[in-house]
């Protein structure tokens, strides 16, 4: 599904975001990418989200080189990916319901479908009672669940979660990880970046370890090998 072919991101002669990374992810996989700060995890995701371009190498999504896509095609490509960030990135002037509905509105889904689907997803992330709250009225864990709900409402092919538990306490961290596992069990490919050892060890899924822009480990039933 996803193939990184010798992808390099060079910032200066001695500074690499990624250094000849080659990586393949199959449909339906749950892959965790671990590493210390500056290992290249976020850079890897930026390449996949076309938020940044590689200095060399190619990134393929279902055999298509995504960095050769035209503007309109990039928009359509991004609709196939759900994203969850450490800082939640919710729209502050919209309620929980409206934040989730927005993801459906931008792709032109009619109001009837929105009214049908959003409540189901709110149930899935256990936020039915908070549908009309604004982000500033929610806890960190609740905001992250809204972000996850928004990311999955359009049934994306891939869910990217970049340090989703970075700002959360252990209880919320556990809940978020369970939600992600549930989503993966329903067939969505999940790509998770984290430096939380406990999360990785509890998942028992594929773990890719990065250091200084390169992959130093790829364990199919991973315990983290960093530190």
């Amino acid at each position: 599904m996803i193939f990184f072919d010798k992808v390099t991101k060079k910032y200066s002669d001695d500074s690499f975001g990624l250094n000849e990374v080659t990586l393949s992810i199959q449909p339906g996989e749950f892959v965790s990418i671990v590493g210390h700060s500056g290992a290249g995890k976020t850079t890897l995701l930026k390449m996949l989200l076309i938020e940044d371009r590689p200095t060399s190498g190619n990134v393929f999504f279902e055999s298509v080189d995504i960095h050769n896509l035209r503007s309109r095609e990039i928009t359509m490509y991004r609709r196939r990916i759900g994203t969850v960030f450490q800082d939640f990135r919710l729209l502050p002037d919209r309620t929980t319901y409206e934040n989730i509905a927005f993801a459906m509105e931008v792709i032109g889904r009619p109001d009837s479908e929105i009214e049908n689907d959003v409540p189901h997803v709110l149930d899935l992330v256990d936020l039915s009672t908070k549908a009309w709250h604004f982000p500033h009225e929610l806890s960190g864990g609740e905001r992250q669940r809204v972000a996850i709900a928004r990311a999955i409402i359009n049934q994306p092919d891939l869910l990217i979660a970049d340090e989703p538990t970075g700002n959360l306490d252990p209880v919320n961290t556990y809940e978020i990880v369970q939600v992600l596992k549930r989503i993966n069990d329903m067939g969505t490919t999940v790509l998770l970046t984290t430096h939380n050892k406990g999360v990785i060890d509890s998942l028992e899924r594929r773990v890719i370890t990065m250091k200084q822009g390169t992959i130093i480990g790829d364990d199919p039933k991973g315990k983290t090998t960093m530190m």
Binding site: I50, T75, R78, T83, R89, D93, F102, V106, P110
Partner: protein, 309 residues
């Protein structure tokens, strides 16, 4: 989803953004109001200026003094002839008796002059025609024509006209002043309009800068450029509409105040009546300007955030 539903959604998002971002909307409306205030002030100042200049122009005229033995019937015949000239707007006949009355009124506090006149025993003043041209630049030609006799005609004998007083120097200077003031007014209007646009553009650019994280989120969930730009343009329209309402309402007391304090000074120019009489015209001009400035500013300001890398 059809086009109409898409437009509905864009307006909904824009309205939600306008209402829920109260502080930001207030700032943008305030700045837009100031800009529209400048535009409206320019329009009214232009009217006021033109009115003042016209009242000054109305005070200019050419005075044709006739010889003491000129007959009234001949003077009136000349008046009728001049009235048919396309360069002459108006002629006024002042008889010898009327001239004497005016003289007595003008010098009523000057007893010596009045007594001197009475000692003469006869009316030394002559009849005259006051002539006003259709425009300031016609006075010179009329004065020349009267002095040379080309405007008068051969049917009137030599010496019929005693003197032509045309205040040429005053008229020329007034002409230069009026043209200069009008030119300066036009330049000032262009400068103020440009400043208005820059003020609105920079404010809205700031508003959109504050929203740049939201724009990035919209892009990440797959919103197209039109979907992202649309609500900001709607907000720009709303800034313009609200600012127009505030500006037009505020000019009611302002024009009334100006009227009360200047009407006697500047020849009866009633700014308040002009504002009331042209209210809808002014309103729609301001509305168009406000909406155009708001939309254009939003479009330009959000554009830089739409480029995919």
């Amino acid at each position: 989803m059809n086009f109409f539903e898409s437009i509905q959604r864009v307006f909904k998002w824009g309205t939600i953004g306008f209402l829920r971002n109260g502080t930001v909307s207030f700032s943008a409306v305030l700045v837009t109001t100031i800009a529209l205030f400048m535009i409206c002030s320019t329009m009214l100042a232009n009217f006021f200026l033109n009115g003042t200049l016209r009242s000054l122009e109305d005070k200019l005229d050419i005075n044709v003094y006739f010889s003491v033995d000129a007959k009234e019937v001949d003077i009136l015949a000349l008046k009728a002839k001049l009235d048919r000239s396309q360069e002459i707007a108006k002629t006024e006949y002042v008889s010898k008796e009327q001239a004497l009355e005016e003289f007595n009124v003008r010098h009523k506090d000057d007893e010596l002059t009045i007594q001197a006149l009475e000692l003469l025993g006869t009316n030394p003043l002559s009849a005259r025609l006051n002539i006003q041209a259709t425009s300031l630049d016609k006075y010179e030609g009329i004065a020349n024509g009267l002095s040379s006799g080309s405007l008068v005609g051969a049917e009137f004998k030599d010496g019929f006209i005693d003197k032509v007083s045309d205040n040429r120097l005053v008229i020329q200077r007034m002409n230069n002043l009026i043209n200069g003031v009008r030119r300066a007014g036009s330049i000032l209007a262009i400068v103020l309009l440009s400043i208005s646009f820059l003020i609105i553009f920079n404010t809205i650019r700031l508003v959109i800068y504050i929203s740049k994280n939201e724009i990035s989120v919209m892009k990440l969930v797959g919103a197209g450029n039109a979907t992202i730009q649309g609500p900001f343009i709607v907000e720009g329209i709303m800034y313009g509409v609200v600012a127009t309402i505030i500006t037009t309402i505020s000019f009611f007391p302002i024009t009334l105040y100006i009227k009360n304090h200047t009407q006697d000074l500047y020849g009866g120019i009633d700014l308040y009546s002009y504002y009331i009489g042209h209210f809808f015209q002014i309103f729609f001009i301001l509305l168009g300007a406000g909406i155009l400035l708001g939309c254009l500013s939003s479009l330009l300001a959000v554009h830089k955030y739409l480029k995919n890398i």
